[in-house]
Amino acid sequence: MNRLPLSRVSRAVLVATLGLLAIPACSDDDDDRTFASANPDPGPGVPDSGTPDSGTPDSGTPDSGTVWPAEFSCTDAQRTTVTFNPGQEQALQNEVNELKPCTTIQLGAGTFRFDNAVTIRQDGITIVGAGRGAQGEGTGGTASTVLDFSNAASNTNGMDVIGKLFTVRDLALWNAKKDALRVENSANVFIQRIRTEWAQENNPDNGKYGIYPVKSRYVLVEDSEAYNAADAGIYVGQTRYTIVRRNIAKKNVAGIEIENTKYAYVEGNTAIDNTTGLVVFDLPGNPIKGTDILITKNIITGNNRPNFASVTTSSSTVSQVPAGTGTFILASRRVEFVGNTWGDNETVDIAVLSGLSIEPNPVLWAAAFYNFASADVSIHDNTFTGGSGGNIDHGAPSMTLRPLGFLMSNLYAYGKAVHGVERVEHVLWDGIDPYPRNETIANGVNICFVNNTLPASSKESVVDLDLMAVTAKLTATTPDPTGAWAETRRYNQGVAPFNCSGFSPALALP
């Protein structure tokens, strides 16, 4: 099972790669920049059509201060609006393929049925429906617009966008063959009050992503819903500057995923009933080193859905996540969790992992300056409601499909039997970073866990799993659970070494 161990990587490659470390980019440290004030402005002229979800605050709140820069803007003279109703799908398709900049496409209420993706390759485009409807609705009503891709040609996305100053709001994307909304290489993107959904639950052939802005800048995703995606309901990836707020993600493999992204503000979302609720990670080979992530006021509970992406020969990261993982962060840094609620996540509420746990060859992390290490994770003033960590991988662990869950399951079965540890602690750290592990330096990774509200039943709150040592002992020819358990360390909240006060400089909160 060893994958590309370093010893097989040619010495020449190593030398060359080490040489790269010396280039001036190393001194180009921008981590001391202030965090952006999150205050996007969709710009004038965007029609504020009837809000189906009155009661939720609208965009523009809650902040003051600087505004994201606009990479494109529309003058009033440029703005035009075209309107389409159900039945005019081909006319709509013709229109979107010859759009002038700054066109608003108004979609009437009802169901639009497409046999191909809706592709947009223009700047300043707004597409607005009559409302996103409710979960489970595959057809539009009098106050909702559903774009139905059930009969679309195979291998097509739902809405497929490249453009600056793009807005989509008040509509639903139903049964897309691939991703429901894919926005790529774009800037100033406003995704507001939409719904992405597949009709069938737990179907590995559903599209991978619901809301999928990628390789973009200045992306807002708010007041939207995502259901039944076979990878992530809401994904923001390879992006700089994003706000993800007040969204609902349910019944996906991963509810909300922030990947290889810098400057993300993730507030007030609800991630329930996914395999894993809200995750932050970098993948190897990607040039953006994710950092400066604020996760606040989110509800991340009851994410125990069996991993329906987890089939043999899966190579995606989330396909290997054990069910019941509330949050995991991997190869991530400068992540602050404050004011969130976790509970009833059967494997663990929060796991903090090294990128080396999925790709042990550091050379393959070269594209983003060897960003495999997690560091600077501040978890403070959150609420843990309990009920988590007592039924790892929803009671169905698999060594071949989800090995981490399998190892944890074995380890905690021993811990329960011999030491009376009934549940995985609220925060699991794999004990890998900074690699290699140095037992004399406690908490070199700088995880801080303070001032959180814990259930009365909680014993220790943080576990240093020393996963490498545990793995070695549990997978030895003669497995050694006693020795494995002895490698782990458990800590109460408020005691060293996890009672630190965050990282410096702190995120500049909006």
Binding site: N2, R3, P5, L6, L14, L18, L21, D28, D29, D30, R33, S37, T66, V67, W68, Q90, L92, N94, N97, E98, N116, I120, A153, S154, N155, K177, A187, P204, D205, K208, D231, R240, K262, L283, G285, P287, K289, A309, T312, T313, S314, S316, L356, I358, E359, P362, A367, A368, F369, Y370, N371, P403, L404, D430, P434, Y435, P436, L467, T471, A472
Partner: protein
């Protein structure tokens, strides 16, 4: 998440970790500051792994990119191919609603006399891109008084006003490929003053005219009988204008996608075609007509083999040719999917890892046959082969333009992978 397997990492990893501790990736300006926003050129400064190991030959971009700003004083008179509108840059081709109005063809398929006009030169490729077994007929129109410029490795540098056409058709039964041939669409690529533009035209049911269809069209449940006599049924997708760019693009320095042709490269054009009963080399014919300059002696012109003619080249070269024409328009260092996946299947790439050997994909998704793009010696666990071979939505490659398996192509790549020195990739 996988269990870690790092027991052998050792000192080198320590060095890495220590050395990079002070590094930060990227180079961003904070929003709202005095500085202008990130201009989009956000990848500068990161090492470009894809270029390592490949010779520093120019890529397709420079030659194929738009030559905007060139005054194009060449006389356009005497051609039927559109007339410049007042107010548009000189040389702009007006895109008509009907294919016939381009003046590049006479007759129609309805009367079996659909023919290119003189000056609209038919050509074939040595190995074509597979498109659901459709028969393709191609023409190249270069305006009077102008000529293409030869390039040894890139797309020919075609002048403003050039129109490339490709008509996609199916016979009812591939065992009789000349009978009951039904054209579905004709796509055109037009070299405008500002760059290339693409337009699909869909043939009407009477086959008397093809109408511009920028929104594309899906022929649901289209049927034909294949060369083995097996009935096939599938959704034939005429791409939308926006979807043309999915294959036909190169990412420029500003991170924008620019449209460009794919097949009109010397090595694919370097073959014979029958012109008025005379068998001629296509490139030489273009040169003889004054439509191509800079053509070197025949011996110096590269030639891609027919990927399915074992007499023409080795298995290795035939397989790489197939990948080049079918995959490399996306999987190259200057196209978006290549940039994202770091899998480069163009003929210039020599580095085995970039070609997919034991390369783990960034995000291939689930159930795509294996963990690595290519497991040398074993096509059955290679994702590259799996994605070519499958007809499952969301898993098959290319992303667009294929709904059916290309049996011969799939077999060629299987044979190629199986002939490699086996590695476990573990």
């Amino acid at each position: 998440m996988r269990a870690p397997y790092m027991t052998r990492l050792g000192l080198a990893a320590v060095l890495f970790a220590a050395a990079v501790a002070a590094c930060s990736g990227g180079n961003d300006d904070p929003p709202g500051g005095d500085n202008p926003p990130d201009s989009g050129n956000h990848d500068s400064g990161t090492p470009d792994a894809g270029d390592s190991g490949t010779p520093s030959t120019p890529d397709a971009g420079p030659d194929a990119g738009p030559d905007a700003g060139e005054p194009d004083a060449g006389v356009d008179a005497g051609t039927d191919a559109g007339t410049p509108d007042a107010g548009l840059p000189e040389g702009t081709v007006t895109i008509p609603n009907k294919l016939s109005e381009l003046g590049l063809f006479t007759g129609s398929p309805a009367t079996s006399d659909f023919q290119p006009v003189a000056g609209n030169i038919p050509y074939e490729l040595t190995t074509p891109l597979f498109s659901d077994y459709s028969l393709k007929s191609r023409t190249l129109y270069v305006p009077a008084g102008k000529a293409a410029v030869y390039s040894a490795s890139d797309v020919l540098d075609l002048p403003v006003g050039t129109i490339i056409t490709k008509t996609f058709a199916f016979p009812a039964d591939f065992r009789e490929p000349d009978k009951n041939v039904r054209p579905l669409e004709t796509r055109i690529l037009v070299r405008q003053p500002g760059g290339w533009e693409a337009y699909p035209y869909v043939w009407n049911d009477a086959l008397t005219e093809a109408d511009k269809a920028v929104g594309g069209k899906v022929f649901k449940n289209f049927e034909f009988i294949d060369a083995q006599g097996v009935a096939k049924k599938f959704d034939y997708l005429v791409p939308q204008r926006n979807q043309c760019q999915k294959c036909h693009h190169v990412v420029d320095e500003q991170d924008n996608q620019q449209l460009l042709p794919i097949g009109v490269k010397a090595r694919y054009l370097n073959r014979d075609h029958v012109y008025d009963g005379q068998t001629l080399n296509q490139l030489q014919h273009l040169a003889d007509l004054g439509k191509l300059t800079g053509l070197p002696p025949a011996i110096q012109i590269p030639r891609a083999p027919d990927a399915f003619n074992t007499a023409e080249a080795s298995l290795e070269i035939r397989a790489r040719t197939y990948l080049d024409i079918n995959c490399a328009h996306c999987h190259n260092p200057k196209a978006q999917p290549g940039i994202t996946s770091r899998l480069f299947l163009d003929i210039k790439t020599t580095d085995e890892f970039s070609l997919g050997h034991c390369k783990r994909p960034g995000s291939a998704g689930n159930g795509v046959g294996g963990e690595f793009d290519i497991v040398p010696g074993d096509h059955s666990t290679s994702i590259l082969w799996y994605r070519m071979n499958t007809e499952e939505s969301g898993k098959m490659m290319p992303e667009i333009g294929r709904a059916l398996r290309h049996d011969a192509g799939s077999q060629l790549i299987a044979d190629w992978i199986d002939a490699m020195t086996p590695r476990t990739c573990k």
